[in-house]
């Protein structure tokens, strides 16, 4: 196996392993059959929970659109609880376990540590998720995803969440055990690939996250059973957000790892500098968790220094990591394109990108929406003082629909366009619709996020059934709620299309055993292009330099505009 700059894929498996692995007909990589089985189970469950969350989404958007006001008040809060848990927890965690099982096996030429452990994890997660959904729909957990004490749900709600957490931890254990055995048995030489490194960062953060979940949910469960007194409500907020926000940071690591993976699959991109990318992931592991404090910025009982230090990720070092990936991901793609000969001007390479490939377009939209909308609003709203003009308004939901939905969910959808042909070994039905799907979903979510952000800037609360009761909001706020509604219709059509494509392909898609998968289209080299030709030109990525300069300018403008808006409100301390 070569370990030079032109590192090749691992060699064929040991013949005695033939029953336990197969050689991929498209990439030539070895696929552990046990891992493949659980990738499939987890991916299918993930899409089912995405569908539940998506149906909830359109019901909610058409209720907040005051003119339509679809649901009744009690069902609104019930469906809101369903939406939060299925989207932020179930869809994402099941998909991430699938990503972990891939990342610890195929790139390392390794076999999954234990099928029994995988069953144990999967079983806990599925039973937990079904328990939670059941008790919500029964009307005994109208507490929203955060279930803030003293609001109290039926004990099955807490027990279900605990099971999902322990099940995920079991899958994470399986991941780490696989890594250990692979290293011990030298199934690969040298450092682990970047995708696996990213997945490992996600897994490390996941352990911290899920421990917080156990610490907060177990005493709340025992309180709901009447066995222990009520935990303090501020303590609950603090620890719950150690579960709640940190789980989203797991998503960031997984999403970034997927950006690199899709970049490679669609354009042959490779990281400009592995050390920079890996350091950025390490900064995530070290600093990203403390920023959960940004949920407590206008709370009593936690002081200014605590708020400022923690919300800044310790001097913004984890934000630095995101900004680094924001450069290295497009730069790696640009370099690959220029080396293929697409070298015209600043952005000539952009036209030659494989835009018709839904994995590629999904990943690009994910990078842009996450970076420009999600990242910029997130850091700004998480500024201790600026939070005063944002907390609990729709500005917050505008931010996280850009990050978790426009960013993570869209990246996961993008990857699925390779997961199904490569793992389930069926080519997608209806490819013309597939090519459209990321745009439909991405543009829809963009409008949802923007509508929410503008409405929130006008003071419209999140998590509220009706804004007309207080008489405090005018026509502009109502317009923005309508924009959210329209964006949601577009996004949910994109989501339903995704579900139809996935399910339809699993049932009717043409099997691609024995031949490479149907090609979505990858970037083509021009004559004269050569891989590695620009390896020593450290200023080759001019387009990315311009893109990131525009990004930084937008960031600075938005950031300081918010300080100005804050300065216009009453003095308070």
């Amino acid at each position: 196996m070569s370990t030079t700059a032109t590192a090749t894929f691992p060699t064929a498996p040991d013949p005695s392993d033939r029953a336990l692995t197969r050689k991929c007909d498209t990439t030539g990589l070895n696929v552990c059959l046990e891992a493949e089985r659980f990738i499939k189970f987890n991916a299918v469950c993930a899409v089912v929970f995405l569908l539940i969350g998506g149906i909830a989404a359109i019901l909610l958007a058409l209720t907040r659109w005051q003119t339509i006001h679809l649901l009744r008040v009690d069902w609104f809060y019930r469906v809101l609880t369903l939406h939060g848990l299925n989207m932020l927890i179930f869809w994402i965690l099941f998909f991430e376990v699938a990503v972990l099982y891939f990342a610890c096996t195929t790139p390392l030429n390794a076999r999954l540590f234990s099928g029994k452990v995988a069953w144990a994890g999967f079983g806990q997660m599925l039973i937990g998720a079904l328990m939670v959904n059941y008790i919500i729909l029964k009307g005994q957990a109208d507490v929203l995803m955060t279930s803030y004490l003293p609001l109290l749900a039926h004990p099955l709600f807490y027990l279900g969440i605990i099971l999902v957490a322990t099940g995920t931890l079991t899958g994470v254990f399986n991941f780490f055990a696989t890594l250990y055995v692979a290293k011990r048995d030298r199934t690969y030489e040298g450092s682990m690939p970047l995708v696996t490194f990213g997945a490992t960062s996600a897994a490390i953060i996941a352990v911290v996250t899920l421990l917080h979940g156990a610490i907060v949910m177990i005493p709340t469960f025992t309180f709901s059973m009447g066995w222990t007194p009520q935990p303090d409500a501020m303590w609950y907020r603090l620890i719950w957000w150690g579960l709640g926000h940190q789980s989203q940071q797991v998503n960031v690591c997984a999403m970034v790892a997927i950006w690199y993976l899709v970049g490679q699959l669609t354009t042959g991109a490779k990281p400009l500098n592995e050390a920079v990318c890996r350091t950025a992931f390490m900064l995530y592991v070290l600093f990203i968790n403390i920023a959960s404090a940004h949920h407590l910025l206008v709370d009593p009982g936690v002081g200014a220094s605590w708020k400022i230090w923690n919300t800044s990720y310790g001097m913004y070092l984890a934000v630095l990591a995101s900004m680094i990936h924001g450069f290295t991901v497009p730069a790696s793609v640009e370099l690959a394109m220029r080396e293929k000969g697409h070298d015209k001007g600043l952005f000539g390479w952009v036209a030659a990108l494989p835009w018709r490939n839904p994995a590629f377009s999904g990943a690009v939209l994910s990078v842009l929406i996450f970076g420009f909308i999600g990242g910029i609003t997130g850091v700004t709203l998480g500024t201790q003082q600026i939070n005063i003009i944002a907390h609990n308004t729709l500005r917050i939901t505008g931010h996280f629909h850009a990050t978790v939905v426009g960013g993570t969910t869209l990246a996961f959808m993008a990857l699925t366009y390779y997961v199904i042909p490569l793992m389930f070994r069926r080519d997608f039905i209806w490819p013309s619709a597939a090519r459209l799907q990321p745009w439909l979903f991405g543009l829809g979510i963009l409008f949802v996020s923007l509508g929410m952000s503008f409405a929130g800037s006008m003071g419209v609360p999140r998590r509220i059934y009706d804004i007309d009761q207080s008489g405090a909001y005018g026509p502009a706020a109502h317009l923005m709620l309508g924009v959210i509604g329209i964006g949601a219709i577009c996004a949910v059509i994109g989501l339903l299309l995704f579900a139809v494509l996935c399910v339809g392909t699993l049932l009717f898609g043409e099997r691609n055993h024995g031949r490479p998968m149907a090609d979505w289209g990858v970037a083509q080299p021009l004559t004269g292009g050569r891989v590695g030709s620009l390896a020593h030109d450290h200023w080759a990525v001019k387009g990315t330099v311009v893109l990131t300069a525009v990004f930084l300018t937008c960031f600075a403008v938005y950031y300081f505009a918010n300080w100005k808006a804050l300065a216009d409100v009453w003095p308070v301390r």
Partner: protein, 174 residues
């Protein structure tokens, strides 16, 4: 390639455009790191989280005393109360109203005490859009200076049950 083992000598410093970007991004992070402490000392809007432990019933009694001593009117059955300039004002959050209504004077500073008798609530002053968390068992004190006149609505923006959207109060500033 991100999917395969990297070259043996992958641990290299960044160069060129990548190095410039890391430097610029780090600089921007420093700027942002300085903004919050700067505003803490020199800016007028901060959330220090000043709070005291209090039992809900005790907070309610302090509020009733405050109302009895400073009531100047009534609207819709809820007292309108004007605290002394520079003094303490009390606002109770409960399912589903804010009690009492407050009358303040422009340019004066007040210590506004916020607490809840039951669940978590969200103090959201509109149309200014100033937002603070209100917790049972915690007396959250805001040192507040109204600098504009008018009728302001206190909306609740933390989910507190079925009547959540009907929960609103008023602050009148003259």
């Amino acid at each position: 390639m991100s999917l395969s083992v990297p070259a043996r000598d992958w641990c290299k410093p960044p160069m060129g455009a990548e190095k410039l970007w890391v430097g610029l991004a780090l600089l921007w992070c420093f700027v942002m790191s300085l903004m919050m402490p700067y505003w803490h000392f020199r800016g007028k809007q901060n959330s220090r989280g000043e709070a005291y432990s209090v039992k809900p019933m005790d907070f309610f009694q302090r509020t009733e005393k405050f109302v009895a001593a400073n009531k100047v009117g009534e609207r819709g059955g809820i007292p309108i109360v004007e605290p002394a300039p520079g003094g303490d004002a009390y606002l109770v959050a409960r399912m589903w109203n804010w009690y009492p209504l407050l009358k303040l004077r422009q340019g004066e500073t007040y210590r506004l005490h916020l607490s809840s008798l039951d669940l978590q609530h969200g103090f959201s002053l509109q149309p200014l859009n100033m937002n603070f968390q209100v917790m049972p068992g915690y007396d959250h004190v805001l040192t507040l200076t109204p600098t504009s006149k008018g009728e302001f609505t206190v909306v609740c923006n933390e989910f507190c049950g079925i009547g959540h959207d009907k929960m609103f109060g008023k602050i009148f500033v003259e």
